[in-house]
Symmetry: C2
Subunit: 559 residues, 2 copies
């Protein structure tokens, strides 16, 4: 694989941040002789975009930390021509030339390419209407600087009047901004069009995040869309919602998602996919084999849905850039991995993460999906400091194939989700998950990790030992057997339930009717399973267990 006798190729990369810098530097590592040109329309080719909220909130104190690399460093180390403030306006795929606007001088010029890599990223979605000086999106360092100075100005404002902010959009960035604004002393109101925060998670799991927001005094407006802003003297004073509410604030932040910047690709006649991202093959090539696309502008194959989806996440963009950069100089046999949509966010004291499909996504796709919930500890319960987490594992009800997982709680949420993501990569099943030999010592896990416990439960269902019903199940007409101890019922009791503590179930069977459909409940589902095993082997014909017990039941019925 020596490249010594290669003909010099010109590689042109459009956009640095969303995978472009990764592509350009990888092309250089693979081909020392290539002529590599990177055009970036802004001033930075690489910055820590996921770190912006933490800089604004002051957790990251030094702005320089956000600059991962400078144009000068990339030019020097990699021998790449880096041009900032240059916007690629059009692609002539016949002549293999791009037209570039110099945003400083207004002049245009042409640059020929042998291979072209498009990494133009995505742009924040904003509501229609005029922009105000106190309405912000958060996509780049310019946005960041504007927002931070507005916050600092408000913080310096005299008087005791509370500083108020509205955040629109309760996705990852929206929630990170809510936390940081709260740290800065703002009263925060959060508006989300969906009926829940964190739409990639199922509603009941997201509820745990909503409760944490509530504990911190954040006001939630869920299931409410934005109509527009009320302006006064060039500043927004209120945001008007579809419900008729108007929320007044000093500052408005829009985190309503992003739209892929496909204009350039579309104008050049490149094919878009069903999700309206640029369609690419397993080497990140567009419909023109000399043109690659990476990052938030493309759609990627979802490893569980088996359909192309847009997954605008940093890790995927970075790794795709690396692949395209290697492939375009002929040095990379690797194929683009399927994306799993693995994501994580910290919201005050709660961590929420997911991988694969949610139950709601599976339902929309018509995919059969069974679920189990486990409440577990970050490590062995007998060792101090264990933090609890609620884990939901989704699997195919017949094959046991893993479909996804969600976890919300304390420490160790990231580890559990990464293990499931790894298993999903390999197309694993819940039987695999039950077997994985994970690292265990008291400060780090349990001999039977929450992942194992969830997998055991799923395997029991596959093997016909138990039938779990979801926490949303309508229990009207069922014989409900609550096997908790009486003192536990103080917190939450189901109306109509018969309470027989698990340890006395065998001796009190006569109090129950074996011919009635029966649902066994407990706190988290574990004792319910034990109770159901007793009943189903002692003549009860139709026995189910409420998975996740009252812990999950409370979440689906709350709010």
């Amino acid at each position: 694989m020596t490249t010594a006798n290669k003909v010099t190729k010109t590689i042109v990369v459009v956009g640095g941040v969303a995978g472009g810098a990764s592509a350009a530097t990888r092309a250089r590592r693979c081909d020392e002789s290539a002529h590599i040109v990177l055009f970036e329309k802004d001033e930075h080719i690489s910055f820590a975009n996921c770190g912006l909220p933490y800089y604004i909130g002051g957790e990251i104190k030094d702005r320089a930390k956000l600059l991962i690399t400078t144009p000068e460093q990339v030019a020097q180390r990699f021998g790449i021509e880096v041009h900032t403030q240059r916007e690629v306006m059009s692609i002539d795929r016949v002549r293999k030339v791009v037209t570039v606007l110099n945003r400083e001088t207004g002049e245009t010029s042409e640059q020929a390419y042998d291979k072209l890599i498009l990494a133009p990223g995505a742009s924040p979605i904003v509501p229609p209407g005029p922009r105000a000086a106190n309405v912000f999106t958060l996509r780049n360092l310019h946005d960041t600087d504007m927002l931070k100075s507005a916050l600092d100005a408000l913080a310096a404002r005299e008087g005791d009047e509370p500083r108020r902010a509205v955040v629109v959009g309760a996705g990852f960035i929206g929630l990170e901004m809510v936390e940081q604004l709260h740290h800065k002393g703002f009263e925060v109101q959060l508006v989300e069009k969906a009926g829940q925060v964190l739409p990639p998670l199922d509603a009941e799991m997201a509820r745990l995040v909503e409760e944490e927001l509530g504990r911190r005094g954040v006001r939630l407006y869920l299931g409410d869309g934005v109509l527009g802003l009320t302006m006064k003297d060039g500043l927004a004073t209120e945001i008007r919602l579809e419900s008729g509410l108007s929320l007044a604030a000093d500052l408005f932040i829009l985190g309503m998602g992003v739209r892929p910047n496909t204009q350039l690709a579309e104008a050049a006649g490149l094919t878009l996919g069903p999700s309206r991202g640029v369609k690419v093959d397993e080497h990140m090539r567009t419909s023109d084999p000399d043109v690659y696309a990476v990052g938030d502008v493309v759609e990627v194959l979802h490893g569980v849905a088996h359909t192309p989806l847009r997954v605008p996440l940093a890790g995927i963009a970075n790794r795709a850039g690396r692949l395209a950069g290697g492939h375009c100089v002929g040095e990379n046999p690797e194929r683009a991995p399927a994306a799993l949509g693995t994501a994580i966010v910290r919201v005050f004291g709660v961590i929420a993460a997911c991988t694969g499909l949610s139950e709601a996504q599976a339902a929309r796709m018509g995919k059969p999906c069974a679920t189990v919930y486990v409440e577990g500890g970050s490590h062995a319960s007998y060792y101090p400091g264990a933090q609890s987490l609620l884990l939901k594992v989704l699997f195919h009800p017949e094959t046991g194939a893993l479909l996804g997982a969600q976890a919300v709680g304390g420490e160790g949420v990231d580890k559990r989700i990464d293990v499931v993501a790894t298993a999903l990569h390999f197309g694993g099943t819940v039987r695999d998950l039950a077997q994985i030999d994970l690292a265990y010592a008291p400060p780090f896990g349990s001999a039977k990790d929450p992942l194992h416990m969830a997998a055991f439960a799923a395997c029991n269902q596959l093997d016909g030992l138990v039938r779990f019903v979801p926490p949303t199940t309508n229990l009207d007409g069922a014989q409900i057997v609550d096997v908790r101890d009486p003192h536990e019922l103080v917190h939450a009791a189901l109306s109509g339930a018969v309470n027989i503590p698990l340890d006395h179930l065998r001796e009190r069977l006569a109090e129950l009717d074996p011919s009635r459909p029966t649902v066994v409940v407990c706190r988290s589902g574990k004792r319910g399973y034990l109770g159901a095993r007793i009943l189903s082997q002692r003549g009860f014909e139709d026995v189910a267990v409420l998975t996740g017990g009252m812990v999950a039941r409370r979440l689906v019925t709350a709010g």
Copy 2:
């Protein structure tokens, strides 16, 4: 799978702690009608054996926390006959009867079985000679109580004289005890027969743990075996080592590993395997299909070595117990997973973990093995609080199949090892590892995680882009190019190296001889790779990179 019409079976379980209680309770969950009898020769059938050091050291304050479940609770909840202080003395496999000694009365009796599950665990290895009252092993609660009261008595001793302890054996339990003794104010001396602590890890990775022990003032005696104890008035005063040294102490703790309790199985004519553990099939059945064995007494198939090995770890014992318990009543189609030897230990401020094979193990087995080292952060470097870790990934040099991984450092070591363990479960390769869509947000990881970086490096080697040589490589005669910046050389410079900072390498090529075998070095290997790419594409014929750079080099040459 209804069990309503089953003939009642008698299941006899021998030993509770090492997987036996798991087996007995699983048998009950699967078969409500079975007659289940558990014999335990000690008083506890289930306790947190991995928590004992932390209770002794005071991190776990309440002894009751160690008792996961009591005989009474198991009897009540699961309808299991639990007999403690009963030792099974022999098995008559023809009559299907065990003989049981009541250790309280000295009487023996017989118990018939349909299925027998052996979980007798393992016993600590101790040196020959008389036992002294101040020499301890740590295997059960009795050991724990003895040791704790001895420690408390020493702590209460009057005077300023230092309290001294010797720990023999630098495996997981030995190291945990060293930490706890140090917390208790002891001067600790640690003796290990191998030339390193933590023999499951490779020596250079274990060196990071040795350095931490040194920083805490623990005196290490590596590569030194125990000859015996010097006794006075029934107490040990000194331990005599093969080197001729004698170490005096108030207290001696032996953590020299365990020997499987195979006596009962051997006497009954059950087959032992090559590792001298009881041989079992994928359902944990011994050579007699009516006799199962689980836990530290058996050998398990190692998922990477593909040979049977003894892996005396709690998680494996627990999960094997569950399998055997289900299978013996005919309700469990699951198969025993291969073990990966995944393990983790915290030693003061350092966490060390491993999965799969070490390089030394692979060498002993004659397995081809390539390695890469990556120094990485627990999360994005721009977000505060990232802790560093050194990750070593082992893979097959042609196929890229993962063989194992080791990590030593701060937070997040457990997560990385668990991800590799999961990939090993599926027989994954470094190409898989490069692709896994892990959860990323600044407090939790990096867009290119250290796992990805290690996998990228390994893939680059597989693709012929680079040749890594191990940190142990003899560099005599090679042209050594150190691409670090001059200020970095203050800490560690290789004699004979030419220093050309990476960013000036292209312009200073004339200072080097392209015909000489060349090794590129830097701090951790990343810039070395970039430098090697430049050289190998500009006429240098034989270029290698020192993997792990000076970070790893220092570890293999230190000590």
